[in-house]
C-alpha cells in the first residue's frame, strides 16, 4: 500500500511538533524515519496510525484520502503500529491475546484462531507457543505476537517504533528477516522509527530524516553514516573513540562484593555469581534479554531477594537490608522505565526535587523551586521548574533522573541508562556518569547495546542462562568472542 502524507501540521501549545511534513512511502519498501528526541517522529507516526488527528494536512492511501478517528480505524484500512511498549494483555495467553483483537463474534472459534496464529507465525519464522502467558514472554516474543496479530488483521503498512530496543540479537535477526520477506514478497510497506543507525543500515531501503518538526533530508540506503548524522543533528559529530582513562582493577577499595549469589528469575535464575567492584570502576553487564543480569542488578539494589549468597557493601553484610536502607548507605538505582518507575508522572520538577530532599517536616517550596532551577541549568534540562515530567522528552527525563541522584554515591546501579536516547543525549548521560566515577562511585550498568558496554566498561560480565563470565579487559576481547559468550557458545 502506498502512503502519501502531505502538509501535516501538529502543534502542542507553542511547540510545532510537525511543521508542514510531506513524504511518500511506497509499497514493498522498507523506510526508516530518523531524528533525534523531540524531532517529531512519534507525533507523525501517532497521526499516521490514528492515535491523534493532525491540525491540518492529509493522508492518502493508494490514492484515497483517509481520516482516522482511532487506531482501530487506521488498522481497518491497513495501517498497523508496533509500539515500543507492546500493547497486549499480560495476564492472558498468546492465543487469547490473538483472539481478543479479532473479537467480532460472541463465541470465538478458538480452533481456527489457533491454526491461523500458528500459520501466520510460521510464515514469519516466529516460534510462539499459543498457550504461554504473555507475561512469561520476552519483549522480543511479545513483539512477534503483536506483529502476527497486526498482519492477521490485514495490516499492509507496518510502523515499528524502536523495535530492536530490549530484544536479543537473534530475535532482531528473525525480526529483520521477516520484515524483509513481508516487504519484498508481500508488498507490505514497512516504516521503522529508530535511533540506531546500525539497524537502519542493515534493514532499510531509504531513510527520511526529521529535525525540529520538519523534513531535513532523505536518502537511499546504503548511505554514509556521517551524512545521516549530519541530517539528524545538523552537524558532524566526531566518531567516538575509546574512552580515555580506563580504570585498572587492582582489588583495592572494594565497594561491592558479591559472593555465591543466586537470584530467582521468572525463567532464568541467576546462579552462584561472584563479583568484586571497586571505587571508580565501571562494570557493564552484557547478555541476552533475561539472562540474569537484571536479577543481579536488582539484587544489589535490594529490590530482589536472593535465594543464596551474600552481598557486602564496603565490607558490611547488606544481604538482608531493604532497598531504602541501602539507599541510605549510598546505593542508587535507576530503572529503565523512566516514566513508569523512575519519575512520578503528574508531578513537576520542583516537586521531584522536594520529594528526594528529605529535610524536615515541611517543604520549603521557594527553596525547592530554586534548587530545581539550579538543576535545570546545571543539567541543561529543556523545561521549567513547573514542567510536569511527563511533558519532557525522553532525553530530558533522563537528565532529570540524573539530576535527582544524591551526591556522594558509593554504588550506582543503572538499567539501560541511554535507552531510547539519541547519540548526543547518550553521550551527555555518560559524561555525567563518568564524573560520578571520578568522584569515587562504582558503577554497574545493564545495556542492550554491546557497543556501549565495550566503550564505557572497565570490566564486563557476560550473562548466559543465569551464569556469569567475567571479562577483565574488554578492549582485548574481540566482538566475535563476546558474541560467542552472549550466545552461550563454548569456545
Amino acid at each position: 500500500m502506498d502512503v502519501q502524507i502531505s502538509h501535516i501540521v501538529k502543534t502542542f501549545g507553542k511547540v510545532r511538533a510537525n511543521d508542514d511534513i510531506s513524504m511518500t512511502f511506497q509499497s514493498g519498501h522498507i523506510y526508516a524515519v530518523l531524528g533525534e528526541n523531540g524531532a517529531g517522529k512519534s507525533t507523525l507516526m501517532k497521526i499516521l496510525s490514528g492515535f491523534q488527528p493532525p491540525d491540518s494536512g492529509q493522508i492518502v492511501l493508494d490514492g484515497q484520502p483517509v481520516v482516522f478517528a482511532s487506531p482501530a480505524d487506521a488498522l481497518r484500512v491497513g495501517i498497523g503500529m508496533l509500539h515500543q511498549d507492546v500493547l497486549d494483555v499480560p495476564g492472558m495467553t498468546v492465543l487469547d491475546n490473538f483472539i481478543l483483537a479479532r473479537g467480532t463474534h460472541l463465541l470465538p472459534d478458538r480452533h481456527r484462531a489457533r491454526v491461523e496464529l500458528s500459520q501466520q507465525a510460521d510464515k514469519l519464522g516466529f516460534d510462539l507457543n499459543p498457550d504461554a502467558y504473555v507475561d512469561s514472554l520476552t519483549i522480543g516474543e511479545r513483539q512477534q505476537l503483536e506483529l502476527v496479530r497486526l498482519l492477521s488483521l490485514g495490516a499492509k503498512v507496518l510502523i515499528l517504533d524502536e523495535p530492536t530496543t530490549g530484544i536479543s540479537t537473534d530475535q532482531k535477526e528473525v525480526l529483520f528477516n521477516s520484515l524483509r520477506r513481508l516487504a519484498h514478497t508481500e508488498s507490505v510497506t514497512v516504516i521503522l522509527v529508530s535511533h540506531k543507525l546500525e539497524d537502519v543500515n542493515a534493514l532499510c531501503d531509504s531513510v527520511v530524516v526529521l529535525r525540529q518538526g520538519q523534513v531535513t533530508g532523505s536518502a537511499d540506503m546504503p548511505s554514509p553514516t556521517a551524512t545521516l548524522i549530519e541530517m539528524m543533528f545538523g552537524k558532524d559529530l566526531p566518531r567516538s573513540g575509546q574512552r580515555p582513562g580506563k580504570h585498572a582493577h587492582k582489588g583495592l577499595n572494594t565497594v561491592l562484593s558479591v559472593k555465591a549469589l543466586s537470584v530467582p528469575g521468572r525463567r532464568v535464575s541467576l546462579k552462584d555469581v561472584y563479583l568484586d567492584v571497586e571505587r571508580g570502576e565501571v562494570v557493564g553487564l552484557a547478555g541476552l534479554d533475561g539472562s540474569g543480569q537484571r536479577g543481579l542488578l536488582r539484587a544489589c539494589a535490594g529490590l530482589e531477594a536472593p535465594t543464596a549468597g551474600w552481598l557486602y557493601l564496603e565490607g558490611r553484610d547488606v544481604t538482608h537490608l531493604n532497598y531504602h536502607d541501602r539507599v541510605g548507605l549510598g546505593v542508587a538505582y535507576t530503572p529503565a522505565g523512566r516514566l513508569e518507575e523512575g519519575l512520578v508522572a503528574g508531578l513537576t520538577l520542583t516537586e521531584h526535587v522536594a520529594l528526594v530532599s528529605d529535610r524536615g517536616t515541611w517543604v520549603h517550596w521557594n527553596a525547592a523551586r530554586h534548587e530545581a532551577k539550579d538543576k535545570i541549568e546545571h543539567y541543561s534540562i529543556r523545561g521549567t521548574s513547573e514542567s510536569r515530567v511527563e511533558t519532557l522528552s525522553g532525553g530530558n527525563q533522563q537528565r532529570a533522573l540524573m539530576a535527582l541522584l544524591p551526591q556522594n554515591l558509593k554504588l550506582l546501579l543503572l538499567e539501560s541508562p541511554t535507552r531510547g536516547l539519541d547519540v548526543e543525549s547518550a553521550r551527555w548521560v555518560w559524561r555525567q556518569l563518568l564524573a560520578r566515577r571520578e568522584q569515587g562511585a562504582a558503577i554497574i550498568f545493564i545495556s542492550p547495546d554491546l557497543d556501549e558496554i565495550i566503550e564505557y566498561s572497565d570490566r564486563v560480565v557476560v550473562f548466559f542462562g543465569g551464569r556469569a563470565t567475567l571479562i577483565d579487559d574488554p578492549s582485548k576481547t574481540s566482538m566475535a568472542e563476546l558474541g560467542r559468550l552472549i550466545g552461550g557458545v563454548q569456545s
Binding site: F12, G13, V15, A17, G38, G40, K41, S42, T43, K46, Q52, Y323, H324, V327, Y333, P335, E340, E341, G342, L343, V344, A345, G346, L347, T348, T350, E351, H352, A354, L355, V356, D358, G360, T361, W362, V363, W365, A368, R369, S385, E386, E390, T391, S393, L404
Partner: protein, 362 residues
C-alpha cells in the same frame, strides 16, 4: 484519579479551581432544572417550593445551626479521605471507621456522670474516637500491605463487620431497655452548645475546622503530603525515589480513620436535634459514603471540600421542610445530591478526556 495539586503550581492551580467552580455551577443548574421539572409534573409551584426549601434550611438561626452541625462529620470524614485519595487509596471502609469512632467514644460517654467535667469527658471521647477509627483503618491497611487485599474489598467487608459488632454490643452489654441502643448520655458527655444559637457547638466547629486545616496543610506544605501525592501518581516511582510506600499506606489509612472516627463521635455526641445523644446501630448513618461523594464532587481539590460538605448537610435539612409543608418525599433530596455527583464526575471525566485527546508533545 487526579490527586491533589501541589502549591508549586499556582497559576495552573487557580485555573483548575475556576474550572471546577464552573463544572459545579453548571451541574447545580441542571439539578435545579430537574427539580423544577419534577415539581411542575407533580402539580406544585416551584417558586414556593424553593422558598420553603430555603426557609427550611437557612430561614432562621436554628435551621442554619443545624446545617452547620450536620456538616461537621461530613467535613471531617471528607478531610480524611483527601489524604487517602491523594495516596491513590479508595478508603471505602470510612463508614466502618466512623462507626468504630462512635463506639470507642461511647466507652467514655456512657460512663460520664452528671458531675464529671465536660471538657475532660469530651477530650477523652474524641481521643478514643480517633484511636478507634484509626485502628479499624489500620486493619484495612494491613490487609492491603501484608495480605494484598485491595482496600476497597477489605473496606466493604470491614464495614459489615463494624456494623455487626455495633449490633452485638447494643443487643448485649450496652443494651438499654428494650431497644437496640445505649442509655442517653449525660449532659457533660455531649458537645456544649452556644447559648441561644440553636444547635451550634463551638468545640465541634473548631475540631472539624482544625481537622480540615491540618489536612490542607499536610497536602500543600508537608513532605509527607508530597509523598502521598507522589504515591497517588505512581507508587512504584515514589518507592524508588525513596518514599516508604508501605508505611505511608498505613499512616494515611490511620489518619483518615482517626478523622472519620472523630466525625463518627460528633454524630452521636451532639444534643438533640442534631443527633440523638446515644449510640444506636446506624450511628454512622452513611456519612462516610456521603463524604466519598463530597471528595468526588470536589474533584479531589481540598479547597472545595468545606463548601460542598455544608451543601450536603443543607439539602436534607431543607427537604425536611418540604416534606412537612407540601408532602414531598425527603429522599428526593438525596436523589438530587447523588445526581449532582454523577453529573459532576461525568463532566470531570469528559474534561480529562478532552485534555487527553488534545494530546501531549513527544
Amino acid at each position: 484519579m487526579t490527586p491533589l495539586q501541589g502549591s508549586a503550581n499556582t497559576s495552573q492551580h487557580s485555573n483548575r479551581w475556576l474550572a471546577q467552580a464552573l463544572v459545579l455551577i453548571v451541574g447545580l443548574l441542571i439539578i435545579v432544572g430537574g427539580i423544577v421539572a419534577v415539581l411542575l409534573l407533580s402539580g406544585k409551584d416551584p417558586a414556593s417550593a424553593l422558598n420553603l426549601f430555603l426557609q427550611g434550611s437557612l430561614g432562621d438561626a436554628t435551621q442554619r445551626s443545624l446545617v452547620v452541625m450536620r456538616g461537621l462529620p461530613i467535613l471531617l470524614a471528607a478531610s480524611g479521605l483527601l489524604l487517602t485519595f491523594s495516596a491513590g487509596l479508595w478508603n471505602i471502609g470510612i463508614e466502618g471507621q466512623m462507626m468504630f469512632g462512635a463506639i470507642f467514644a461511647t466507652i467514655i460517654a456512657r460512663s460520664v456522670g452528671n458531675d464529671t467535667s465536660g471538657w475532660i469527658a469530651l477530650a477523652l471521647e474524641l481521643i478514643l474516637a480517633a484511636i478507634g477509627g484509626a485502628l479499624w483503618a489500620l486493619v484495612a491497611g494491613v490487609l492491603k500491605t501484608k495480605g494484598r487485599v485491595n482496600e476497597i474489598f477489605g473496606g466493604v467487608a470491614l464495614n459489615f463487620i463494624a456494623s455487626n459488632i455495633a449490633l452485638y454490643i447494643l443487643d448485649g452489654p450496652w443494651k438499654y431497655g428494650a431497644r437496640q441502643q445505649t442509655a442517653p448520655f449525660n449532659a457533660p458527655a455531649l458537645l456544649p452548645l452556644v447559648p441561644d444559637s440553636g444547635a451550634l457547638s463551638l468545640p465541634g466547629i473548631l475540631i472539624a475546622i482544625a481537622g480540615f486545616v491540618l489536612v490542607y496543610l499536610i497536602l500543600k506544605r508537608s513532605r509527607w503530603g508530597l509523598q502521598l501525592r507522589a504515591m497517588g501518581h505512581s507508587q512504584r516511582s515514589a518507592f524508588l525515589l525513596g518514599v516508604r510506600t508501605e508505611r505511608n499506606v498505613l499512616l494515611a489509612m490511620m489518619a483518615c480513620g482517626a478523622l472519620g472516627g472523630i466525625g463518627g463521635a460528633l454524630q452521636i455526641l451532639s444534643p438533640d436535634p442534631v443527633s440523638k445523644g446515644y449510640l444506636f446501630p446506624d450511628s454512622s448513618g452513611g456519612i462516610g459514603f456521603l463524604a466519598l461523594l463530597v471528595v468526588l464532587l470536589a474533584n479531589y481539590q481540598a479547597a472545595w471540600v468545606p463548601l460542598i460538605s455544608l451543601f450536603f448537610s443543607l439539602v436534607p435539612v431543607g427537604m425536611l421542610n418540604l416534606q412537612t409543608q407540601i408532602g414531598l418525599d425527603p429522599t428526593l433530596g438525596r436523589v438530587f445530591e447523588e445526581a449532582l455527583v454523577f453529573i459532576v464526575v461525568l463532566a470531570n471525566g469528559a474534561a480529562a478526556r478532552a485534555r487527553h485527546t488534545m494530546g501531549e508533545p513527544d
